[in-house]
C-alpha cells in the first residue's frame, strides 16, 4: 500500500514535489469545546436536518400546486407583477421620486448602490470587530435595509388587486363547436339575406367568439326561446331592440345560436 507516498508511474512526467504540504486536517484546538468528525458523524446529522427540511418542502409542494395562468397573449389586458422576491424593487418604482423622469434612480441607482455595498462589504467594514453590537454602522444599515425591503414588499402585496389578476390571467377554455351552415339562421347571421345581423357581429364578432363588450356565443347554454328573448329584450350590457329583422328571422337566428352547443 502506497497511499499517496512515493507512487511510481510508467513514464512519470510530473514534477517532483518533495516539500508538499501534508494533507493533514486543520486543527481546531484553538477553539474551546468539543469538535466532531465531519465524516461520518456530523454529515449524518446534517442529512437528518436535510430530511426534515425535505418533508416540509414536499408538503408545501403537494398542498400548493404551482400556478399556471392562461397562455401568454399580449392583446389581453394584464397588470404585470414580478415574482415575490422582486416585489420590493417593483414597489420602489411606483414612488414619484423613483419613477417617470427619475426612473433611473429607482431602477438602477438605488438597487445598484445596495448591491454594490453588499459586494464590497469587507472593504467598507474593515474593523477587526465581529460582534454586531461592536460595529453599529454596518448593523444599523443592514437592519434599515431589511426594514425597507419588508415594508416595500408588504406595500406591494397590499396594493395589488389579486382578484383582478386572477381574472385577467385565467385559462380560457377553448370550446369545440360544430356550426351548422344549413340552418336559415346562419344566413341571417352572415348577412346573406340582408344586413339584419350586422349589429350582432359588431359586438359578438364574426367568428362568434365575442369581444370586450359582449360574451362569446359559441358554447352557450341557452335554449332557442331564451336566445330569442335576449335578441328582443337584451341582457346585461346588451340593450333591447338591437335586431332589426322580422320576428320570423329573429326566431331562426335564435335557433341557430342555440345550436352552438359545445360538443360533449
Amino acid at each position: 500500500m502506497h497511499r499517496g507516498k512515493g507512487m511510481k508511474f510508467v513514464g512519470d512526467s510530473r514534477i517532483k514535489a518533495n516539500h508538499r504540504m501534508p494533507n493533514v486536517p486543520k486543527d481546531y484546538s484553538e477553539y474551546p469545546g468539543k469538535t466532531e468528525a465531519f465524516w461520518p458523524n456530523f454529515l449524518l446529522k446534517e442529512w437528518m436536518v436535510g430530511a426534515v427540511f425535505l418533508i416540509a418542502y414536499l408538503i408545501l409542494t403537494v398542498a400548493h400546486p404551482s400556478p399556471l395562468e392562461g397562455p401568454a397573449d399580449p392583446t389581453r389586458a394584464y397588470v404585470p407583477l414580478p415574482d415575490w422576491y422582486f416585489l420590493f424593487m417593483y414597489q420602489l418604482l411606483k414612488y414619484s421620486y423613483a419613477s417617470g423622469p427619475y426612473n433611473v434612480i429607482g431602477a438602477i441607482v438605488i438597487p445598484g448602490l445596495a448591491f454594490g455595498a453588499l459586494l464590497l462589504m469587507p472593504f467598507l467594514d474593515k474593523s477587526p470587530e465581529r460582534r454586531p453590537s461592536k460595529r453599529p454602522l454596518p448593523t444599523g444599515f443592514m437592519l434599515l435595509t431589511l426594514a425597507a425591503m419588508f415594508y416595500l414588499t408588504w406595500e406591494a402585496v397590499a396594493n395589488h388587486d389579486w382578484e383582478a389578476q386572477k381574472a385577467m390571467g385565467a385559462i380560457v377554455e377553448e370550446v369545440d363547436v360544430d356550426i351548422d351552415e344549413s340552418l336559415p339562421g346562419f344566413a341571417i347571421w352572415n348577412g346573406d339575406s340582408g344586413d339584419q345581423a350586422k349589429s350582432c357581429i359588431g359586438c359578438h364578432a364574426a367568428d362568434l367568439k365575442g369581444g370586450p363588450a359582449a360574451p362569446k356565443l359559441v358554447g352557450n347554454e341557452l335554449t332557442a326561446e331564451q336566445v330569442e328573448d335576449i335578441i328582443h329584450n337584451g341582457r346585461g350590457g346588451m340593450p333591447p331592440g338591437q335586431f332589426k329583422g322580422t320576428d320570423e328571422e329573429a326566431k331562426q337566428l335564435a335557433e341557430f345560436i342555440a345550436s352552438l352547443k359545445a360538443k360533449k
Binding site: Y31, E36, Y57, T61, P71, Y85, F86, L93, I108, P122
Partner: protein, 224 residues
C-alpha cells in the same frame, strides 16, 4: 470488497489526499446544533446547496417535457402539470424550490453578515457569495418567463424595460436578452431558456466550486 476497489484506485490515482480535503476534518463545537441549538443558523448555507441540487435535478426532468417555443411552451407546461405522472410534483418542487433557495440564501447571507464572517481573510469568499446571489436572482428572473403564461410575459416585459433603463448600455442589454429591440416573443423565449438552462448554471457551478474550495481552505469562521 469496497476497500479493495478503493485501494486499487488509490494505488493508481492517489485519491486519499482529495478525500481528506473534502471530508476528513473536524467540525467545531460552535457550529454544531447538537451542542448549541442556536447554531442551526449555520445550516442555512448547506440547506441552500441542498435545494440547489434539487433545483438541478427537477430542472433536468422538466426539460424532458418542456418545449422552448412560443407555440408549444405553454401547452407543454400544461401537459406536464395535468397529464404527466408526478409532473405536478416535479414542477411544484422546481417552482417552490426557486422561492426557497432565495429564502435560504438570504438567511445564509444574513448569518454571515451578522457574525462578521466576511472579514479578513474571507473577503473573496464573501464576494463570490454575493455573485452567487446575483446569479440566483438571474435564474429566478429568466425561469419566470419559461411557462409562457400571462404573468410570465408581462413580468418579463417590465423586467426588460428596467434593464433597458440602464444608462448607456441599456439598449444593448435589452437586445441581448430579448433578441430584438421592440418585439418580446419567440427569440426572447429561446434566449431566456438558453440563459436559464446553460449560461447561468455554468456560471453558478464555477462560483459554487470557488465558494466551497475557499471554505475548505479557510475553515469555518471561529466563535464570536
Amino acid at each position: 470488497m469496497l476497500n479493495k476497489i478503493y485501494d486499487w484506485v488509490d494505488e493508481r490515482l492517489d485519491i486519499t489526499p482529495i478525500w481528506r480535503d473534502i471530508a476528513d476534518h473536524e467540525v467545531p463545537e460552535h457550529v454544531n446544533p447538537a451542542h448549541h441549538f442556536s447554531a442551526f443558523v449555520y445550516c442555512f448555507g448547506g440547506l441552500t446547496f441542498f435545494i440547489t441540487v434539487i433545483q438541478i435535478l427537477s430542472g433536468m426532468f422538466l426539460t424532458m417535457y418542456y418545449v422552448p417555443d412560443v407555440v408549444n411552451a405553454w401547452k407543454s407546461v400544461y401537459y406536464l402539470q395535468n397529464e404527466v405522472a408526478f409532473g405536478e410534483i416535479v414542477r411544484g418542487m422546481h417552482h417552490w424550490g426557486a422561492s426557497l433557495v432565495i429564502v435560504m440564501m438570504f438567511l445564509h447571507t444574513l448569518r454571515v453578515f451578522f457574525t462578521g464572517s466576511y472579514k479578513k481573510p474571507r473577503e473573496l469568499n464573501w464576494m463570490v457569495g454575493v455573485g452567487i446571489f446575483g446569479v440566483m436572482m438571474g435564474l429566478g428572473f429568466t425561469g419566470y418567463l419559461l411557462p409562457w403564461d400571462m404573468k410570465a410575459l408581462f413580468a418579463t416585459k417590465v423586467g426588460i424595460e428596467i434593464a433597458a433603463s440602464v444608462p448607456f448600455i441599456g439598449e444593448w442589454i435589452k437586445i441581448l436578452l430579448a433578441g430584438d429591440s421592440t418585439i418580446l416573443g419567440a427569440q426572447t423565449l429561446t434566449r431566456f431558456f438558453a440563459i436559464h438552462v446553460f449560461f447561468l448554471p455554468a456560471v453558478l457551478f464555477g462560483l459554487l466550486a470557488a465558494h466551497f474550495i475557499m471554505i475548505r481552505r479557510q475553515g469555518i469562521s471561529g466563535p464570536l
